[in-house]
Amino acid sequence: MSDVLAVVEHRRGSPRDVSFELVTAGADLVGDTGGDLHLAVIGGDVDAFAEALSLAGVDAIHTVAEGDEFNHDVYVQAVEALSEELDPTYVLMGNTVNGLDYAPAVAERLDLPLVTDAIGLQNDGGLVVTREMYASKVESTVEVDADRAAVTVRPGEWDAAEEPGEPAVEAFSFDLDESRVRSRVTGFEEVGSGDVDITDADVLVSVGRGIEEQENIELVQELADALGATLSSSRPIVDNGWLPKDRQVGQSGKVVTPKFYIAIGISGAVQHVAGMKGAENIVAINTDPDAPIFDIADYGIVGDLFEVVPELIEQFE
């Protein structure tokens, strides 16, 4: 019998998508073991979040009315207290920026093996996790050699649970040790609101690490101009300071849904794909035929961007 405790994630008043995906992953893990799927809702408008998460497959929701926003010190203590009470086989959390800010501490406190960034989970007598290594070039399976584990699951890998259910909703209280709350969130800021709004563009020419040098950005800008498109980029370009933050597409940048997305020298790391997979048409130009960007591309050119892009510019001049 496997009981699962999944921790809901929310930000600024709304449960995040990964919370609904955790329900699906958690229900899969419980499977036909006869165990229960518990959800923890910590902080914010816990009653509203519990209502939103009252889904089929969920047996119980435990609400912890403590603070408004995510605070990892509170989360760690709450999940620790809940785990002591519920004794779950698996604790599931989102592999998000906030997930990675508390899940490792939960595992450490509870002395649980931790597997992060799961893209597949199998529970047959023991837990087997599928995850990626070496920047997505290799996939691996990892067996957990213990009865219990803490796991973070990659957002977007499981379907979001939608079917309503009627789990028991219970308020859970525990003695928060204030002396162990040693960080304070003082605010939020939207970044990168410059003069260009890449979320508004019909056609994006997007440039990645394959451009190699700052001076080569000019080449893709030229293509963007020739196509009447807007220039965007993947993370390394912004990290290098070659383009401003408001041009960044991806998990930590903007989510875009243009009619055409032309990815040039972008390998297609999962964080980038999260920001552009909704584009109507995706064109990928990359030297590496195995680059993950081709998995989601509609049109592909395996080739050297420094040869293809000038030819393409010529086509539109």
């Binding site: 990892h72 990626e132 939020f188 196509l227 009619k259």
Partner: protein, 265 residues
């Protein structure tokens, strides 16, 4: 003040590669300092440069002797000295889990007694992204994960950080010291090592530490995770590929783009 930076030599896999059992065959691996650690090192060195007080920057790594060449690059960029943890007991471990790394690094922290620990957000090889926060919990430091701006107020005992959340939102947080901060790429501009730095690095110390030096035994590196399979992911591409030389590829793509109204005059 002492800043401890965790660094890791990671292998990058070439475009075409073959597997050898549970590993990528050696000839397809290029070793380098983990990308995130470059930024953590730079941040630590900048803290030392900007402080009025004496700040010692110590790098710690878990890695075999081979990794010394890579670690020396961190020394060339201004890290004062390094500690390298390795042991025969680690030789046969395919996948060192977060718990094992935490036990090793905790022992080093106990020895070094730093005021601040900087780590990269994640390592590019096993990509757990968890060691920094796990370590913080084990050594009872406060922490913040995915930090992309840091304003250290050592006298006030706090670090004011920005955490890079998803979707272009940053969280502003005050973190009590001592703390572990996991550093995100883009927080600074990592410098290139100067020739002088590279020369100086040759005489800086990289102290090897075995498990017994840290008061640990082989049980400390026993991993709860067993790597059972490694394979190339199936490509799911159903893209239409344009073949031929660059000119032909560009012409075919241009046709499609025009048909769909892109760049049409």
């Amino acid at each position: 003040m002492k800043v401890l930076v965790t660094v890791k030599e990671v292998a990058e896999v070439e475009e075409d590669f073959e597997l050898d059992g549970l590993r990528v065959a050696d000839q397809y691996l290029d070793y380098d300092l983990n990308e995130w650690d470059e930024y953590a090192v730079e941040e630590a060195v900048q803290i030392a440069e900007e402080s009025d007080d004496d700040v010692e920057v110590v790098a710690v790594t878990i890695g075999p002797e081979r990794s010394e060449e890579t670690i020396r690059m961190a020394l060339a960029k201004g890290v004062d000295r390094a500690v390298r943890v390795w042991d025969d007991a680690l030789d046969g471990v395919d996948l060192l889990d977060v718990g094992a790394k935490t036990r090793l690094l905790s022992a080093v922290v106990e020895e070094e007694d730093p005021d601040l620990v900087l780590t990269g957000v994640q390592a590019n090889d096993d990509s757990f992204g968890a060691t920094g926060v796990s370590l913080a919990s084990a050594i009872d430091f406060e922490w913040a994960a995915v930090v992309n701006a840091l304003d250290l107020d050592a006298d006030g005992g706090v670090a004011n950080v920005r955490r890079e959340l998803e979707g272009g939102v940053e969280e502003l947080t005050e973190v009590d010291l001592p703390a572990v901060l996991t550093i995100q790429t883009g927080i600074n501009e990592p410098r290139y090592a100067s020739l002088r730095g590279i020369r100086q690095a040759q005489s800086k110390e990289i102290k090897p530490l075995a498990l017994s030096d840290l008061g640990l035994d082989a049980a400390a590196v026993e991993s709860d995770l067993v790597l059972t399979d490694v394979y190339e992911p199936e490509t799911e591409s159903d893209a239409t590929y344009f073949e031929g030389d660059a000119g032909e590829q560009a012409a075919d793509l241009a046709t499609v783009l025009r048909e769909k109204g892109v760049g049409a005059q």
